[in-house]
């Protein structure tokens, strides 16, 4: 049970306070309700590039990191398809420094040309390091546009292509800031060794006079239901074949969300899971196989990924995954399986309360969903799911005409195939 208090400033900034006096530290987490899904299709990767620019100095403070490090603090941020989240941890005695820094960059950035130029390069290097210069690194750049034809989830947070990042101009940066970075589009969580009264006063002092700005009203093209099988094959310089099968699934607030997570746990969480037991251990067809969901706010993806053993053909490997899916569709799951993944979920949630930062981030994200207190009721939602719902969901999701299959083939395997054909 994570206790908290909540208030809203006149300018619309929502503030949540979670006192935890077992630690000498404090955390200040700000979630901005903007992610890659809010980007212009011709300027993708912008939300993430912008996150980098948030560290390039603000209107009154030339350096963000330096004064924070000077008071013993650390910070970081991440961008997803849905949100951008910034956090600071520091000794609680110095919490005001966090308010000072965060409020100034919500007020206005410095918009330095030099910072834009450097961060463009840094992000391009990040693009290369994580997506282009790694085996299988570009999978998501290829798979997303197969699953999403209308919704902006069709691009990854890093962006569609390097050129979009190269083309970013300071004017774009300014208008993005104006549109998304204001009190009405933010949720702040202050946690740790702090008290409500102190946080209320500091929030008023530092954030109270920031203009409310305009409320961004999101209106994204929704992804239509999929009714045809989609397939693609990539041949690349990788050592092993890899299969990805992605299914469209419900959004985060749908009642099926919890059943979907339990379903993915039954299929793939840990070494007692179905896919590991059957395909890695018993049938010995894969060296690794995983099922997971993207957990996005809008319509998500339920993904299977597996690397078949070298002596297993890609067709046989794909058929083996489908065989498992058909089994669960026809026979459902056992009570024992369900209790197992529910128990695991329960202990995972209890363990997550050991981390102050995790608690702060969770409160912010549940507040975005509608109410921070949802965090405290998560477990009951998992425990309520009946076996029948999991089976029904499997039937709803795992249809050929709801699938996007990407075969990521090793160059050598293809050469071997070619040779075989010639000999035949």
């Amino acid at each position: 049970m994570v206790k908290f208090n909540r208030f809203t400033l006149d300018n619309g900034l929502r503030v949540i306070v979670h006192e935890d006096h077992t630690t000498p530290m404090a955390v200040l987490n700000i979630l901005y309700d903007v992610g890659a899904r809010d980007e212009n299709p011709e300027q993708t990767g912008f939300a993430h590039l912008f996150e980098h620019l948030m560290f390039g100095g603000s209107v009154n403070i030339p350096s963000y990191d330096e004064p924070l490090q000077r008071v013993g603090g650390e910070n970081n941020a991440f961008t997803s398809n849905d949100i951008t989240n910034y956090y600071i941890t520091l000794p609680s005695a110095n919490i005001e420094t966090a308010f000072w820094l965060e409020s100034d960059r919500m007020l206005s950035l410095a918009f330095s040309e030099k910072s834009l130029e450097v961060q463009r390069n840094v992000v391009i290097e990040e693009f290369k390091q994580r997506y282009l210069n790694q085996p299988y690194g570009d999978v998501w750049l290829k798979l997303r546009p197969m699953v999403y034809k209308k919704h902006p989830y069709q691009w990854a947070t890093i962006g569609k292509e390097i050129k979009h990042i190269e083309d970013a101009r300071i004017g774009d940066v300014k208008s993005f800031f104006k549109k998304h970075y204001n009190p009405q589009n933010a949720i702040m969580v202050v946690g740790g060794d702090v008290d409500l009264q102190q946080v209320t006063a500091l929030a008023e002092k530092w954030f109270g006079n920031i203009p409310a700005g305009e409320k961004y009203v999101r209106s994204l093209p929704q992804e239509p239901e999929q009714h045809e099988e989609r397939r693609d094959t990539v041949v690349a310089h990788v050592p092993l074949n890899d299969i990805y099968i992605a299914f469209q699934m419900c959004d985060r607030l749908d009642d099926d969300f919890y059943a979907a997570e339990l379903l993915s746990d039954i299929l793939s969480r840990g070494t007692s899971s179905r896919l590991y037991r059957s395909l890695v251990k018993e049938k010995q067809l894969f060296s690794e196989i995983h099922a997971y969901m993207t957990g996005s706010l809008d319509k998500g993806m339920f993904v299977f990924e597996g690397k078949p053993l070298e002596n297993v053909s890609i067709e046989a490997a794909e058929a083996a995954i489908w065989n498992e899916l058909e089994t669960i569709k026809s026979n459902g799951i056992t009570d024992e399986e369900l209790i197992k993944v529910q128990n695991k979920t329960e202990s995972t949630l209890i363990f997550s309360e050991m981390s102050l930062l995790d608690k702060a981030m969770n409160l912010a994200q549940f507040e975005l969903l509608g109410d921070a207190d949802l965090f405290n009721h998560e477990i009951s939602k998992y425990l309520k799911v009946p076996t029948s719902q999991v089976k029904e969901l499997a039937n709803k999701l795992f249809r050929k005409d709801n699938s996007s299959t990407l075969l990521y083939l090793a160059e050598t395997a293809v050469e071997n195939q070619t040779t075989t054909t010639q000999n035949a």
Partner: protein, 426 residues
């Protein structure tokens, strides 16, 4: 009232760190147990830590493989049954192989310990490493290794460790052939010799109930016996390679991985905390000189850092990054400049005071929960150090002079003698 946004708020520096100390018990069989009792959640983490056996270059993977395969079956339970039971009770069971020690770690809610602890007992006394599971393990590891060997940073790290640490557990870089040296008989022998009470330290952290202490004492003190063979945890001496430069060409690389550094002292040496301060200035935090120059000024990389590894029988100071292939040489030149600057010029007061505060805040922040306190203890215990080490560390961070840091830079950071590995283009 107008808020003054130009001036930073007043702040305080951290003046002391309160570390939680354990209750120690030596069990009848020689196994040492340390209890850290704190926290609000009804859960514990229990770690069983074993010193690795002496490295054998003919059978270099034994320590790793035996540790990794501990969950693969006992006389009484198959891998599937072990996994099923652990998952059913919502527990997390991990095996972790480290350079000096091998760990078995259990995370569990207190209420399930009576069901779960016997599984660990079984694993530690009765693992059988079934032939079929071993084949699967070897095959899957070989596949994973093929993927890793396409990653520049992996290749660079492997070549660097090999150069610095030679034929030891620290320097080992297995290839797919190496896995063929594994066989079940060797593994069983290794297991019996290494996984014994006298070679085990148990560390328990969380909300510890009296019943938990009783269970652990009975199961891992009274019922667990040493065998007749003594574990051999001595290690061969390290001899670094005479060759200092390694270029592993990867014609299609968009980025090159750079890893460079030099053998250095470990935590037991009195200079270690001071050298950590120097390391932090160079590349140990986001605002470090390497980050400020090579990422934030030049934009050559997504990230660059330096670090110090402190191992039981050695240590190293190293710098690692991945940079655009076209700017690889330029990045190396900048790294050299930064090192030379530390040797020639005193660190300005403003910068060193920032680093001091940052390091103390970071130490305080690293003590997030009772697990972190136990982790700090492990750093001490396995280096044969006492809690005065952290008092000394805090004192050093606060007071080491910039003159002394320049001296240390000259003593330890000889760029010409650095081992340098580039994987990619150069």
């Amino acid at each position: 009232m107008i808020t003054d946004r130009k001036t930073a708020p007043e702040f305080r520096t951290v003046d002391h760190i309160n570390l939680l100390k354990p209750v120690h018990e030596e069990l009848a069989n020689g196994c040492n147990v340390f209890y850290f009792n704190s926290g609000d959640q009804d859960l514990v983490r229990v770690e069983w830590i074993f010193g690795n056996q002496r490295f054998n270059d003919q059978k270099p993977l034994l320590n790793l493989a035996v540790n990794t395969m501990l969950t693969e079956g006992t006389h009484g339970m198959t891998q599937a049954q072990i996994a099923e039971k652990v998952d059913f009770y919502g527990a997390f069971l991990q095996v972790d192989y480290g350079y000096d020690n091998s760990l078995v770690t259990l995370y569990s809610l207190n209420k399930h310990l009576p069901e779960i602890l016997p599984v660990i007992g079984d694993i530690l006394t009765d693992s059988v490493f079934p032939e079929k599971e071993l084949e699967t393990y070897i095959r899957n590891q070989q596949q994973k290794l093929q993927v890793s060997l396409r990653k520049n940073d992996y290749i660079a790290r492997r070549a660097f460790n090999k150069a610095i640490y030679g034929d030891t557990l620290y320097g080992l870089g297995a290839d797919t052939e190496t896995y063929k040296t594994l066989n079940r008989a060797d593994m069983l022998m290794h297991f019996r010799q290494m996984y014994q009470p006298v070679n085990c330290t148990i560390i328990v952290a969380g909300k510890i109930e009296q019943g938990t202490v009783g269970l652990l004492t009975k199961m891992f003190g009274d019922e667990w016996k040493n065998t007749a063979i003594t574990p051999d945890t001595s290690q061969p001496g390290i001899s670094s390679s005479p060759e200092k430069f390694y270029f592993i060409e990867r014609p299609e690389a968009l980025q090159s991985a750079i890893r460079m550094g030099i053998p250095a002292i470990n935590r037991t040496h009195p200079d270690f905390p001071s050298l950590q301060v120097l390391n932090t200035v160079l590349g140990g935090y986001f605002g470090s000189r390497l980050m400020a120059n090579i990422r934030e000024d030049k934009g050559y990389t997504y990230g660059i850092g330096s670090g110090m590894s402190s191992l039981k029988h050695g240590g190293a100071m190293f710098i690692a990054t991945e940079v655009g292939a076209d700017v690889c040489r330029a990045a190396v030149t900048e790294i050299e400049k930064e090192i030379n600057l530390l040797k020639s010029t005193l660190i300005p007061e403003d910068e060193i005071s920032l680093v001091r505060n940052y390091m103390l805040g970071s130490l305080l922040g690293s003590l997030e929960n009772v697990f972190s306190h136990a982790d700090k203890f492990k750093n001490l215990y396995f280096s044969d150090l006492g809690y005065e080490y952290y008092d000394q560390y805090v004192q050093t961070v606060k007071t080491v002079s910039v003159e002394r840091l320049r001296e240390l830079a000259n003593q330890y950071l000889d760029f010409d003698n650095f081992y340098k590995v580039i994987a990619g283009k150069y």
